[in-house]
């Protein structure tokens, strides 16, 4: 793997991560400022441009009770054809309480055959996740899921 230009920075972070485990350079997780419902609404607005968003077609598969907020499996799918003249153009996933409202955007086309994407995401707290699909006819469809996030018992607060 080629060395990226700022490799010394990455090495430092890698060492810091490793040293954190050894207790030399502790990394603490401080709760940063949370996103607000207004930020979520405005992030959605950036995608939809204010157009009506209808509920339906989109299915968000996330375990309702998450084992660890650091890695949450998520599958988002849209029940809609993927034909050249009628297909899903993109899927946008948002959250309510992470520091930032965006999670990911997925850009698709008719050749995908099926509008279904899986990824692993991070959730900082119990919150609502929203997925919005944009169709080739310019319409928007959405689904949302409420997820409960608990923390692992022996949380690694390195001292």
């Amino acid at each position: 793997m080629q060395q990226p230009p700022n490799s010394s920075r990455r090495q430092f972070l890698g060492l810091a991560g490793g040293a954190a485990v050894l207790g030399a350079l502790p990394v603490v997780i401080v709760r940063p400022a949370e996103a607000t419902p207004a930020m979520l609404a405005s992030a959605i607005q950036n995608v939809t441009g204010g157009a009506t968003v209808r509920t339906g077609k989109v299915k968000l598969d996330i375990p309702p009770l998450v084992e660890n907020g650091n890695t949450v499996p998520m599958t988002v799918s849209v029940a809609h054809p993927m034909a050249p003249e009628d297909h899903v153009r993109s899927i946008h996933v948002f959250n309510e309480k992470n520091p930032q409202p965006n999670i990911a955007n997925f850009h698709l086309g008719p050749h995908n055959g099926r509008a279904q994407v899986s990824a692993r995401i991070r959730l900082a707290d119990s919150q609502k996740i929203v997925a919005i699909a944009k169709l080739s006819d310019g319409s928007f469809w959405s689904a949302s899921v409420d997820v409960v996030v608990t923390l692992a018992a022996c949380t690694e607060e390195v001292i």
């Binding site: 940063p32 050749h111 994407v117």
Partner: protein, 106 residues
């Protein structure tokens, strides 16, 4: 060192919808964690993942800090002809990795 794991079926029939699974090693440092000294650990994430088939883009993802470390992304595509998938991950600090996989379609 191997950084990526790609799973693409080696063979498919024309018209089959196949699933492509990708896994890339990357810390995906969100940029919100603090050291005890108070310093923020700077953001270091993959921002974009693209897949091309025989040169044409078939899938693209914009990633944000809310994507977990060692990003696992799966998507579907229709098998139309034999050829080569090319995968590219681009991110902060000039991060750039590629991988490829071939498929034979009959």
């Amino acid at each position: 060192m191997a950084s990526a794991m790609i799973n693409v079926p080696a063979k498919a029939r024309r018209g089959d919808i196949i699933e492509i699974k990708t896994l890339m090693s990357h810390i995906m440092e969100p940029g919100y964690r603090h050291k005890a000294s108070g310093e923020v650990v700077p953001r270091d994430i993959i921002t974009s993942f693209t897949c091309r088939f025989n040169g044409n883009e078939i899938f693209r993802a914009d990633l944000f800090p809310a994507v977990a470390a060692n990003p696992f992304i799966t998507f579907f595509t229709t098998a139309t002809e034999s050829g080569k998938f090319e995968f590219e991950w681009i991110g902060d600090k000039g991060f750039s990795e590629t991988a490829s996989a071939s498929i034979s379609v009959e």
